[in-house]
Every structure is written in structure tokens, then in C-alpha cells.
Symmetry: C2
Subunit: 296 residues, 2 copies
């Protein structure tokens, strides 16, 4: 197992983690400067944060600092109530792939979507099987273009509590099944999975499905995201905990990834409305580094 | 499929649904009188509600009204940090089995527990695999006594968002696996599952696992619980929705149960701090009856 107790070379910061500092939204170029000042080697930025500053400006800034990406957040949201909506989702994913390429991301993370409209409180339909079919078709259509330009797609299973409104892919087994269906186990170039401990820690199949993902050719393990599950969790979206503050056995899950030769970054992704987003950004970055050394 | 549009003979009320009325806790004997007045044929009461009034008094009252049980809430919470805690849990489950027998319940519902202490905000350990082993051993030990007295145990898989603090059995597949491990598929007398749509609606394996439960001998389908998943869901515990107000395809899931010859009650179980618990209890009961006719 890689020893992270003395270094943070493999630590990446998902920029949602410090998108708010002292309760106030902070622009991405400022966040990148902060990460550089703390010696952070990689980030995973969100599309809206990039767009607010400008894609080319962010690309140049990252290059100047020597900061890479651990992933790009995010494509997906494929289901829609009608053909126009499905088409619009494909177009948007094509743009996300292009942006990821400009930023030299190792993968575009897919939060695949669920019942269309549910995120706004009114689902257009209740058939989650239909949504899952639309997700499969959307990934299949996007994969052609992603392969052309050389941008791997990482399906991120989301916790089942997001099955209605954010992602109808809710287990790693489901994500692996999708990869099998779309590529087979031996032609999987350009399609894989993102393992976020918050979403999958509870799954009794987790170890077996990490191994299954690793044993495909090539390995499907494209990203690994860290945070913690708090008890109690007070909000379904904005109460992700700092590593060590919750109940997830992080060293155990990391050992499964390492045993499968996952060589990549550890991306810290914390949305925390009532805690970390209220603190000073430099304190948050220092804590991320410390906890990555001591709790993972 | 049974036609419920004209009757509510198969409607049961989990008494948590109206344990608070206009924001105030209401004793179980009053709740039972209300259910009787609305022609409700069955309820599923909670142990603390029964204890507050008295077990024998509740048993007599139910008999006098001709009201049966669809289940008894609840046994479980097997994991503990030490031998004394494990022993205490077994003793408590034995008492729950005795109470269920006194009330002539068709089954004791098991919410099996998870990381001990997590419900109070401090987990004694993080090894969910250990908790799952303690659950298996606890059910095995309780099953002997439950079979002696003739009280079936119904393992209720809880939504993965409760994996830390309430139940480390989070899918119907896991519950079926436990039944297989403890009984085999053909000696399953006295052990089965409770299917609560709130906990399992998202699961891509749901239909297959309902069929698996039904195909055991005897059928493991011991209980079926109804409510709805709201978008947004504002609280992890106390925001269960009324049937028809959310995104669960209730007729579809019911059709799977009926196709498997589930002959039993539909138990409405709604915890709703900011909505139904604030309303008049008779309004809630009328709404349960109406929505059972129109939305299920």
C-alpha cells in the first residue's frame, strides 16, 4: 500500500470542497491559486466554476502552476421526458467532453441522472427502468465521441438516496454491468467507473465489485473519491464529512483499491453547508492534507 | 391483482403514522379507537407505544375491536461492542417475540441494527462486516426461540442511508442471502422478509429478489409496507411521503408482490415530522384509505 503519511502527492482537491469559504462563493482562479500555495498537485473542478472564469484562462492557469486534474465534474444527466431533451443532453455531454479535453483531464465523471424533473421537485415520469435505459443509451452515444477525442468516461454510482433526482446508477455492480453491456469485459477502453466512498461504503458487494472493475481489460478504476459518512447526517446533499469524522473504514476501502493496483489520485470531495463551507479556505486545505495523512 | 379501488380490507396502519397528531404524541389506545372508527382491520404497533399503555390492555382492546396485526414493530438491533451488549440484545429480542405472540402478530419485524453507538453519534467500531456478522448470529440465536413459540421473524432491509446507524442489511438480496445462510431455501419456516417500498424502490434487483423470496419454501414474503419517496426529501428519517405524493411506482411494485401470490396486508408507514404528524389524525386516516385506493 502506498504510504501517504509523509506526503500528499496523490491528494487531489475536488473544488466543490472550497467553492464556499466563510460562507461565500469563491471563484475558481482564486481556488487554484490557493491549492498551488498549499502544494496541491491536482484538482477536480466543476463545469460551472470553470465557465464562470473562462475555460482557456483556467487551462492556462493550471499549466502555469503545474497542477493536473484527477477528473472533470461532470457529464451525465441523460434522461429526459422527450426526444428534444435527450438530444440536448447528448449535446451538452459533447461540450463537457471537449472541455475535459482542453483541461487535459484523465476522465470525465458521469453523474448519469435519474427521473427527469425530479431535481426540480416534479418528476416527468416514475419509471426508473426507463431512466436506466435512457442512461445506457446516452452513455453509448457519448462514448463514440469520447473515444474519438480520447477522453475516458467514468460512471460514478451515486448513493441510493439520490436515485430519484441525481443518478439511477446506485451500485458499483450496476456501473460494472453497464460497462459490460456497452463494451464487454475486454474492450473497455475509454469507459470505467469512479469509486466515491460516500456513495458505496455501505455496499456488501463493494470489495468484489472493485475487483471486478479492476479485472476488466483495461482496468475500469478511473477515479477514487474520499470524504466520510457522518452520524447523524443532517442533509441528504450538503453534509459530507471530512475524512476521520465519520464511520467509513477508509483504510480498508483504500486497501482494496491498492490491492487492485489503482495507481491514481485520491480526490477529496466535501460539500458541507454547515461546517467546512463556513470555514477559512486555507484551514480546510490544511485539514484535507492532514486527514489524508492520518485517517486514510 | 387484487382490486383495492373499492375497499380497504387489506389496508393496515403502522401506528407511527398517527403517533403524533397536530404535533402531539397520542397514546396507542386512542389510536386504536380511531382506527376502529374508520373501519381499519389491522395495525402494526410499536413496542414503546404498547408498553406505555400496557401489553395486556392493548391485547384486549384489539380483540374487542376485532383488529388484527400486520406485524409488530420491532425486534433487532443485534450488534454491540461487547459480549454483555450482544447478550442484552438477545434478551430484548426474546421479550419482543413474547409480546408479538401475546398480540397475535403474524410476524416480528426486525430492524437489525448497524454500527453500535452510531445512533447516538459515536460508533464503537467502523467494521460494517463485523456488524453484519453479529446480525447473522443474533438472528440465528433468536430464531430458535421464535420457532419454539411460533413467531415468524421478518428481516426488513433498510435503505442504505441507514447503514451506519439503523440497519446494515440494506438490500433484499442481502436479506435473502441471510435467510439462505440460516435456513437454506427449503427449510425457511419462521424466517422471511419485510418489503418496504421506501427502502427498496431504487434497487435494480428488486423484482428478481421479490421473486427469489417468494420462490423459497415457504414463501419469505411476510410483510409489505407502503409510503412514498418525496423529491426533495428534507430529512433522512422523518420525511416519508404519503402514497401518490412521491416518485415510487407503487402499482408496479405491488404488481410484483401480487404476481408472487403475496396474500397479505398493505401496511402504511409514514413518519412525517413536518407534514402528516402536524395534521388531524382522522384526516390522516381518511387520506391513507383514499390514497390506498387511488395511488397503489
Amino acid at each position: 500500500m502506498r504510504d501517504f503519511s509523509q506526503n500528499h502527492d496523490w491528494l487531489s482537491i475536488n473544488t466543490a470542497t472550497i467553492r464556499k469559504q466563510r460562507g461565500t462563493e469563491v471563484p475558481l482562479d482564486r481556488i487554484i491559486d490557493q491549492c498551488a500555495a498549499h502544494g496541491i498537485r491536482a484538482i477536480s473542478p466543476w463545469r460551472d466554476q470553470v465557465a464562470a472564469v473562462g475555460l482557456d484562462k483556467i487551462a492556462s492557469q493550471l499549466k502555469a502552476h503545474g497542477i493536473g486534474l484527477s477528473g472533470y465534474c461532470r457529464g451525465g444527466f441523460f434522461p429526459a421526458p422527450d426526444a428534444a431533451g435527450l438530444r440536448a443532453a447528448l449535446d451538452d455531454n459533447r461540450r463537457a467532453i471537449d472541455e475535459a479535453k482542453t483541461l487535459d483531464a484523465p476522465c470525465l465523471v458521469l453523474v448519469v441522472g435519474a427521473l427527469p424533473g425530479a431535481l426540480d421537485g416534479k418528476a416527468a415520469y416514475k419509471d426508473i427502468g426507463r431512466a436506466r435505459g435512457e442512461v445506457r443509451d446516452g452513455i453509448a452515444a457519448s462514448l463514440d465521441y469520447a473515444r474519438q477525442v480520447g477522453m475516458p468516461l467514468a460512471i460514478e454510482p451515486l448513493h441510493p438516496m439520490y436515485a430519484a433526482d441525481r443518478s439511477c446508477v446506485n451500485t458499483l455492480a450496476q456501473a460494472n454491468d453497464l460497462c459490460d453491456e456497452l463494451c464487454g469485459t475486454n474492450k473497455g477502453e475509454g469507459l470505467g467507473v469512479a469509486v466515491d466512498v460516500y456513495h458505496v461504503w455501505w455496499d456488501p458487494q463493494l470489495k468484489a465489485q472493485i475487483e471486478r472493475a479492476a479485472n476488466a481489460s483495461p482496468s475500469r478504476l478511473l477515479a477514487f473519491h474520499l470524504c466520510d459518512w457522518l452520524v447523524p447526517t443532517t442533509d441528504l446533499l450538503l453534509d459530507r464529512g471530512m475524512m476521520g469524522d465519520g464511520v467509513i473504514d477508509l483504510p480498508l476501502i483504500r486497501s482494496w483499491m491498492e490491492a487492485c493496483d489503482y495507481p491514481g489520485m485520491h480526490e477529496v470531495e466535501i460539500f458541507s453547508r454547515d461546517n467546512w463551507w463556513k470555514r477559512d479556505g486555507d484551514e480546510v486545505l490544511l485539514t484535507c492534507k492532514l486527514r489524508h495523512e492520518t485517517a486514510c
